[in-house]
Each structure stands twice: as C-alpha cells, then as structure tokens.
C-alpha cells in the first residue's frame, strides 16, 4: 500500500481530484447561468449528435418492426375502443373550432395579439437518453436552429414531460419531470376545481416510486378534489399557459402539517418518449 501511494502518485491523484471538482463546478455554473453552452461544447455536441442519428436509424428500424407485430395483434381491441371515442371527439372538435374562432374575434376586438396560451409547436425526435440514474434526461434532434431556447416546456402526447436544459445548434437536452435534482426547474402550475376557483403553485418534486408529481407549499384554503385538472399557469419565464400537466391524484398535508401537499398523476407517459413537442410561447417573455 505504501508503494502504491508513493509521493508522485499521491500528488497526481490529488491534482486530478481538484481538476475534476473544478471542471464539474464550472460546468454546473455555466449550465445554471448561461442560456447556451460554450461554442466549442456546442460544436462537439452537434458533431456527436449527427453520427448519433445515423446509428440510431437501424436500431429504431429494428424496434419498429418488432413493435409493428405486437401492434398488429392488438389492433382489433384497440379499434373497438377507439371507435367509441371518435364519436365523442367529433363533437368536441366542432365545439372547439367555434370557440377558438370566437376567441380569435374577441382578441381582435381587444387588439390582443398573443395571449399567454398561444404557442407554436416544434416537433422533435428523441435520439438518445442519458445513461445515468441521476439525470433523467433525453436528447432531441432539434436545437437553436429550430428556434428552441433554454427552459422551454416539452410536451409528449397529451401533457408536459419536461423542459429544455441545454441547447446546441442542432440538438438539445431535455430534463424530464421525473428529474428530482435540486437544480431542476420548478414549473408554475395552477389547479382549477369544479366550482371554478383556482390554486396557483409550483411543482416541488417527483415521487419516483409512485410515478407522481408533487406540488407542495400550498397555503390556499380552496378545496381541491381528486380528478381536478392541473395546467401550467404561464406565470414567469417562457412557459405558455394552459399546457396539461396531469390530474390530481390525492391531497393532504406535508410532513410538518403546516401547508397542504397535492400529488398529481402526470398526463403524459414520461417513461416512454419517442416524439416530443417543444412549445414556443408567442407572447412576450419576461426574461
């Protein structure tokens, strides 16, 4: 053991440790403060991402053919179920159309260009996922060239799944809602109950074991029930309002019994992502 930790080796080990910690803290600082990573890192990521797409193509093809077969086996049952939903959807769609037309007309009368709910979607494909237990992060194939900026919300299917954490020219990283790190972004959300009153708050964490979002530090006395819809409130940052986050799963008080805590069942399946949508808010941003 004495020989292993000879003077020279010990010095090298300590220098490496110091350099490692230094590099880590610098990159975390850059990640938290700046909207884009340094140019050299962006360039490196773009080159690596390009080859990533080439290699992902055959793997995705293989998976596509396997799931194709299993999809075919489920087709009959799914068809039955979907038929019943289609009837309902047609009505909703027509109603939606007339409401949005009315909304547009009213906005024109008010000379309101973009409300908080307006956003333009950018579709992107997931090309890789960070192989780490500590960062629930995926890499998508659109970057600042497509108008994506840091902190924009990312949707999949019916609801919010995360936010953009790093933007390169042609690809970007998305931190998922399930990321429980201390530096993860807190989304501003609001819950509207059956009687129409609203509770505003922020997402405070994620329960990995139950796969549920937690919303804490609520002091409002408004009664919230199981099944109430949770949407983004659009307050602060570059988040549009009205993006579905999920439905209320349970309500209760926090560990200290002082404020109430609400758990939310996410609307989108966070564990199965292949195509995502980045929502770019059209109303002016506050930062």
């Amino acid at each position: 053991m004495n020989k292993f930790f000879s003077n020279r080796r010990l010095v090298i080990v300590i220098v490496c440790l110091i350099v490692s910690f230094g590099l880590m803290s610098v990159s975390v600082a850059i990640r938290n403060k700046r909207s884009t990573p340094p140019l050299i890192q962006q360039f490196g990521n773009d080159v690596v991402g390009l080859v990533n797409r080439v290699i992902a193509w055959p793997v995705n093809g293989l998976k596509g053919s396997v799931t194709g077969v299993s999809d075919l086996l489920n087709t009959y049952q799914e068809n039955q179920r979907l038929k019943s939903q289609v009837q309902e959807l047609a009505q909703t769609k027509v109603h939606d159309q007339s409401v949005s037309q009315e909304n547009k007309r009213l906005k024109q009368e008010l000379k309101l260009n973009h409300a908080l709910t307006d956003y333009s979607p950018v579709n992107a494909t997931v090309i890789a996922r960070t192989p780490s237990s500590w960062e629930n992060q995926v890499i998508i194939d659109k970057g600042s060239a497509a108008g994506i900026k840091k902190n924009m919300p990312v949707l999949s299917g019916s609801g919010l799944v995360g936010r953009v954490s790093e933007v390169n020219r042609t690809n970007s990283k998305v931190e998922l809602l399930s990321n429980s790190s201390e530096s993860a972004n807190r989304f501003a959300i609001s819950i509207t109950n059956k009687s129409g009153s609203t509770v505003n708050g922020i997402i405070s964490g994620f329960d990995n074991a139950k796969n549920q979002i937690e919303m804490g530090n609520i002091t409002s006395k408004t009664k919230i029930q199981k099944g109430d819809k949770v949407v983004t409130s659009g307050l602060g940052g570059i988040m549009p309002a009205g993006l579905l986050v999920g439905t209320v799963a349970s309500t209760g008080t926090d560990n200290y019994g002082t404020a109430s805590k609400i758990t939310i069942k996410p609307a989108a399946d966070i564990s199965e992502l292949s195509v995502v949508t980045v929502a770019i808010r059209q109303a002016q941003t506050t930062n």
């Binding site: 610098v26 490196g44 990533n52 192989p131 500590w134």
Partner: protein, 174 residues
C-alpha cells in the same frame, strides 16, 4: 504495433459504436431500462474498454487516452456535466490493467473484474452528482435502485458480448 494491424480502425469504430449504443438503447427501450424506481444505466463503452485490455495482447493500444476521450464525450454529450467520466473511465482502464497483471484473465475472472469496474463507475458517478447537487438520493437508495440493476444489465452484456468481441479482436489482430 497498433499501426500494422486492422485494430487501428477497428478499435475506435467499436468504441464509438458502443458509446452511441449506450444512449440509443436507453431511448429505444426506456420501459425496460428505466422502469421506476429502478434504473439501469448502460455502460457498454466501459465493456469495450475492459475487453480491449484483455484482448490486446502484445499490441499496446493507448487505452487510457481513448478512455479519457470516450469519457469526455460521455460527459459533454450525455450528461452535460464535464469532469466526471473523463476521469472515471481512465481509472477503470488502469485498474483493469493492474488486475490483468495480477492474475490470469479468463471468462470468469474477467466477469469479476468487470463487476468491480461497473461498481466503481456507478459509485464515482453517484459521488460526482451528489457533490454538484444533481441528486439527493441516499447511498442506500443508490445501492438498491441504481447499482444493483446496472450491475445486472452490464454483467449480462458481458456474458453475451465476451465471445463475439474476442472473435472481433482475433480477426482485427491478424
């Protein structure tokens, strides 16, 4: 010696292929690899580096440097936090070299070495993330939810890929 064999192309190509597969497999099979609360991290690139130590024989590949390059790419492209894997991968290679010198390597003892290597990669990446406050998981949680599934996945990958990679190295060396 590296210059005269086909390994000079073959080794970097294999390294890059496994590097990308780590991320792509996670994206293609998220349900299987990241079923909450367990999460398996795929470290196939480590497997390639470790098996390169076993199979390189007289051809000396500058593995520590390649490991640092792979680790740097891993940091920048996958995690976005530079400074963890760029040091961890060379440490793993150095450790494997030391084991290789200490006792004869065959399929089973190699499995043990790979077991130790993956444990080190997992633990050091956990410590790194803990230091920069990217995770608040406790050490016990890390053992149960991250280390155990990751070991299972990576040792299975070792068992499946040991002989194919040996065959590839034999072909490339001649």
């Amino acid at each position: 010696m590296l210059r005269v064999t086909k390994l000079r192309y073959g080794f970097p190509i294999g390294l890059l292929l496994f590097f990308y597969l780590d991320g792509i497999l996670g994206a293609v099979f998220p349900k299987q690899l990241f079923s909450y609360p367990y999460s398996m991290s795929s470290y196939l690139v480590v497997l390639w580096l470790v098996l390169s130590v076993f199979f390189e024989d007289q051809i000396h590949i500058p593995l520590e440097i390649w490991a640092a390059i792979a680790g740097g790419l891993f940091d920048v492209y996958y995690t976005g936090i530079f400074g963890i894997f760029v040091f961890v991968f060379p440490i793993v290679v150095a450790l494997t070299r030391a084991c290789y010198k200490a006792f004869p390597i065959n399929f089973l003892s190699g499995l043990l070495v790979h077991f130790i290597d993956v444990t080190i990669v997992c633990t050091l990446s956990y410590v790194g993330n803990l230091v920069v406050h990217l995770t608040s998981a406790s050490f016990a949680d890390m053992l149960v939810y991250s280390l155990a599934p990751t070991l299972a996945y990576n040792l299975a990958a070792y068992v499946i890929l040991y002989f194919p990679i040996q065959w590839v190295f034999d072909r490339l060396k001649n």
